[in-house]
C-alpha cells in the first residue's frame, strides 16, 4: 500500500524579490515574491529511509528550510502560483532524482510517484493580479498550474 508525503523547501537567506522582475510589465502595488520547491511523493516501505533520501538529495541544510506536510510553507502571501511540468514534458530535476534513486543499491523504500512543483508566493495588497503572473510565468505547452488564494 502506498503512502503520500509532501515536502516543501524554501531558501533561508534570500530576501523577497520585486515581483516586477518576474513579469514583462510592472505590476501595481509594489508586490514582492519568494520561491519554493514542493515535492509530492508516493512510496511504499520504510518512512525513515524515504525521509533520509529526500533530505540528502533535495535539501541543503545550510541555506534552505525544510517543511513537511500539505500546509503552505510561507505565511502572509496574497496568493500562491503553484506550477510544474506536465506529465511527459522533460523535467531534468525529476530525471536526475529518479536516476539517483534507481542507482541506489538498497534504498529501503519504493518510490512509486514523484511530482515536483514550484511555488511563487506573492506578497502585497491591492487588486488580484494573479492572471498576470500566470500569463508571464507559465507556459501552457509544458506546464500545468493553479493559483491558490490565501
Amino acid at each position: 500500500m502506498s503512502t503520500r508525503a509532501v515536502y516543501e523547501i524554501s531558501d533561508r537567506y534570500i530576501e523577497p524579490g520585486k515581483a516586477d522582475g518576474l513579469l514583462y510589465e510592472p505590476v501595481e502595488g509594489g508586490l514582492t515574491y519568494r520561491k519554493t520547491r514542493r515535492y509530492e511523493l508516493e512510496y511504499s516501505g520504510d518512512e525513515t529511509a524515504m525521509s533520509e533520501f529526500v533530505k540528502s538529495t533535495l535539501f541543503d541544510e545550510v541555506s534552505q528550510e525544510f517543511h513537511e506536510g500539505e500546509e503552505a510553507a510561507l505565511e502572509g502571501a496574497a496568493f500562491i502560483l503553484d506550477y510544474g511540468m506536465k506529465p511527459g514534458a522533460l523535467d531534468l530535476e525529476k530525471e536526475a532524482i529518479v536516476n539517483f534513486y534507481e542507482g541506489m543499491s538498497e534504498p529501503g523504500f519504493e518510490l512509486e510517484e514523484l511530482k515536483i512543483r514550484q511555488r511563487i508566493y506573492v506578497f502585497g495588497g491591492g487588486a488580484d493580479q494573479s492572471d498576470r503572473f500566470v500569463r508571464d510565468i507559465c507556459n501552457a505547452a509544458i506546464h500545468n498550474w493553479s493559483v491558490i488564494h490565501v
Binding site: Y13, I14, E15, G21, R37, D60, V62
Partner: protein, 239 residues
C-alpha cells in the same frame, strides 16, 4: 621525455570554462584531460594527480547551482573522490566547480546562494590571501586581483559564527577585500583540513597572462597574470 602530472577536468552538460582551464593547466606543465561526465568511471581517476571541476552552469544551474551535478557525481564516483583525496590527490573547484564541491561535502560546511544584489555579477575583484601556505596559493602575494562571474556566489553558513570560525581556523583561504556579493565574512574560497581540496568563486584561468588584465598599463614584471601563479603553485606542489 619528462612525465607530466595528469589533471582530469570533469565536464558536465553546461560546463563552459573547461577549455581555458585546461589551457592554464597545460601552460604550467600539467597534462590536462577533459572527461565528459557520461564517460566518468572510478577508473578515470587512476592516473590523475588533480581533479578539476571547472566553471560554467552545469545542468543550466537548474534547481540550485551544482545540485544536479552533485547527484550525478555522487552516483558515479563520490566515494572514489574521497579515496582520491585521502591518497594524496588534489581537487580544485572553480566557480560552479566550487558550488559542486560544497554540495558534495568535500569542503567545510557552507553553501553558495544568490548574490545579495539578486543579479549575475561579472567584474574584477581584489582578493586577500589568507592561506599563503596553501599548495594552491603559495606563489601568490597578500593581495591580488581575479575576475568573478556568477549569480550564486554568496557564501553562507548556518550562522555568521560558523563563517567566523571558517576564517579563524584557516578554512577561508581567500576573502574579498570589498563586500562584493554578500558572502559571510567576505569569503571567496575555502580549503579543507588536508589543504588538498580547494574551491574558489573567482576565475584564475581568465587571468593567465598580464594582457588579460582590464588595465593595459597594469604593472607586472613578467608576462604572467595572477591566475598563472595559482596553477603554478599547484604544479610545483605536486611535482
Amino acid at each position: 621525455m619528462e612525465e607530466r602530472p595528469c589533471a582530469i577536468l570533469l565536464k558536465f552538460p553546461g560546463t563552459n570554462c573547461d577549455a581555458e582551464t585546461a589551457r592554464a593547466l597545460e601552460t604550467v606543465g600539467f597534462e590536462a584531460r577533459i572527461v565528459p561526465v557520461s564517460d566518468l568511471t572510478i577508473n578515470t581517476l587512476e592516473d590523475a594527480a588533480l581533479v578539476v571541476l571547472s566553471g560554467g552552469f552545469s545542468y543550466g544551474d537548474y534547481v540550485k547551482s551544482g545540485r544536479l551535478a552533485k547527484l550525478v557525481t555522487q552516483q558515479k564516483i563520490a566515494d572514489a573522490l574521497r579515496e582520491f583525496r585521502d591518497n594524496g590527490g588534489f581537487l580544485l573547484g572553480i566557480c560552479n566547480g566550487f558550488q559542486i564541491l560544497t554540495e558534495l561535502d568535500l569542503l567545510p560546511e557552507a553553501s553558495l546562494v544568490e548574490n545579495t544584489s539578486g543579479r549575475y555579477q561579472c567584474q574584477w575583484v581584489t582578493l586577500e590571501n589568507k592561506a599563503p601556505e596553501s599548495p594552491f596559493l603559495s606563489q601568490l602575494p597578500e593581495t591580488f586581483e581575479f575576475p568573478i562571474a556568477h549569480a550564486e556566489g554568496r557564501l553562507v553558513t548556518k550562522t555568521e559564527e560558523d563563517a567566523k570560525a571558517l576564517v579563524e581556523n584557516g578554512f577561508a583561504a581567500l576573502t574579498y577585500a570589498d563586500p562584493v556579493n554578500g558572502s559571510f565574512q567576505q569569503i571567496a574560497a575555502l580549503q579543507d583540513e588536508t589543504g588538498h581540496v580547494f574551491g574558489l568563486m573567482p576565475h584564475p584561468e581568465r587571468f593567465l597572462y598580464k594582457t588579460d588584465h582590464y588595465d593595459p598599463d597594469w604593472e607586472s614584471d613578467d608576462k604572467w597574470g595572477s591566475g598563472y601563479y595559482l596553477f603554478r603553485s599547484l604544479y610545483d606542489s605536486i611535482s
